[in-house]
């Protein structure tokens, strides 16, 4: 799959497109920052560029990968979400990262819910996991809001991560998880909505 043929996903507030060269500066800024500490960062400029190139190459090799998340109206980028399955990953992962200055609007929830739906309905995935740093409470909380449950039995990437297992397509269809997510996104999209406490994603 070439970068040009990566499907475009639309959600209520976001549009997800394949990573493009011009989106690199925001990626670099995030991976140079403390924000990336749970994703192997911070990285120097060379490492960061090589990782961005790998994000694109992953699409070509696997036929899926990480989308760049854009604001539907301004086209500004907010982060990335998608599938990640490099060599030696035990299972296909659903992953996300939101630029620090774009946190607190529920973008990760909205984007990740959309990519999971795409993998389940269009690419025929029968499930997925997310490998999280046990100290990354924001991401653990997001995994839980997505209906994922900690799987104590599943193989980890390197023993330093915890595995959250996403609900299967059947469970997602027959439960109220998706309704809950839609309601939460609705709150975020409502201009009068103010999240209580510290925003998580």
């Amino acid at each position: 799959m070439s970068a040009a043929s990566i499907p475009v996903l639309q959600t209520r507030r976001l549009v997800l497109r394949g990573p493009e060269p011009q989106d690199y500066p925001n990626f670099k800024a995030t991976f140079a920052s403390y924000r990336s500490r749970f994703m192997g960062g911070p990285l120097n400029p060379y490492e960061s560029w090589m990782l961005y190139a790998a994000e694109i190459g992953h699409w070509t090799i696997r036929g899926f990968g990480m989308w760049m998340i854009h604001d539907r109206h301004t086209d500004e980028t907010c982060g990335m979400a998608g599938g990640w399955f490099p060599a030696q990953w035990p299972e296909r992962e659903i992953a996300w990262i939101i630029w620090p200055e774009k946190a607190g609007h529920g973008y990760a929830l909205e984007a990740t819910h959309a990519v999971r739906g795409y993998f389940y309905e269009t690419q025929g995935w029968d499930g997925a996991v997310s490998y999280l740093d046990p100290k990354n409470l924001d991401s653990i909380r997001l995994a839980e809001r997505l209906g994922a449950v900690k799987d104590h039995e599943a193989a980890t990437v390197d023993g330093h991560d915890v595995v959250y297992r996403h609900p299967s397509p059947a469970v997602l269809r027959s439960s109220q998880i998706a309704d809950g997510i839609a309601m939460e996104i609705g709150h975020y999209a409502d201009p009068s909505f103010k999240p209580k406490g510290v925003a998580l994603d």
Partner: protein
């Protein structure tokens, strides 16, 4: 960019890297033979590097070609045009698998890559970054007509030598390509 050029030389096909190349690359990068080109690496690091090779094509419009032996399709290594962030200039680079060295494949492919850089991409000059201890690579740079220029402190790889290739103007009439 509109697609990925496939080049052909007398004995080689130069094509976009793909996942089939992973096994050979992982074996090479697990060995000490990779010490001059960023190795040794774990298999997961090699996989990500392979994905980066492909991504480089999408970002820059050029990159490393995988070398296949004509007839057999055997994977021999990579030669290409490389310019990740943090590189001093775009370079012509080569990495041969251990079983493919000593046959002139890198020279053959590097000449084709350099011709592509000059004739198709319009580069006006090119360098190769070489580890100071990598005498085999240095000999290849000499065969390509390149000359040592200066040292470069790479943030990840330490001290490297910059070798400068002859420019396109000096190669047009009677340049090495004419006899390749």
């Amino acid at each position: 960019m509109t697609g990925f050029p496939v080049l052909e030389t007398e004995r080689l096909i130069l094509r976009l890297p793909r996942e089939d190349d992973f096994e050979a690359e992982a074996k090479f990068f697990a060995s000490d033979a990779s010490r001059f080109v960023g190795g040794p690496k774990r298999p997961d690091e090699t996989w990500r590097a392979l994905a980066s090779l492909i991504g480089h094509w999408h970002i820059r419009g050029y990159g490393f070609w995988a070398l296949e032996e004509k007839g057999t399709g055997t994977y021999l290594g990579r030669v290409g045009l490389w310019y990740p962030h943090g590189w001093p200039e775009p370079e012509i680079s080569w990495t041969l698998m251990t079983h493919a060295t000593g046959k002139g494949y890198a020279t053959e492919a590097a000449l084709a890559a350099r011709a592509h850089a000059y004739d198709v991409l319009g580069w006006s000059t090119a360098i190769s970054l070489i580890d100071p201890a990598n005498t085999a690579s240095e000999a290849l740079a000499r065969r390509l007509g390149a000359a040592f220029e200066t040292t470069y402190e790479h943030p990840a790889f330490g001290t490297m030598y910059i070798w400068r290739h002859p420019g396109p103007d000096t190669l047009v009439n009677g340049g090495m390509e004419a006899y390749a």
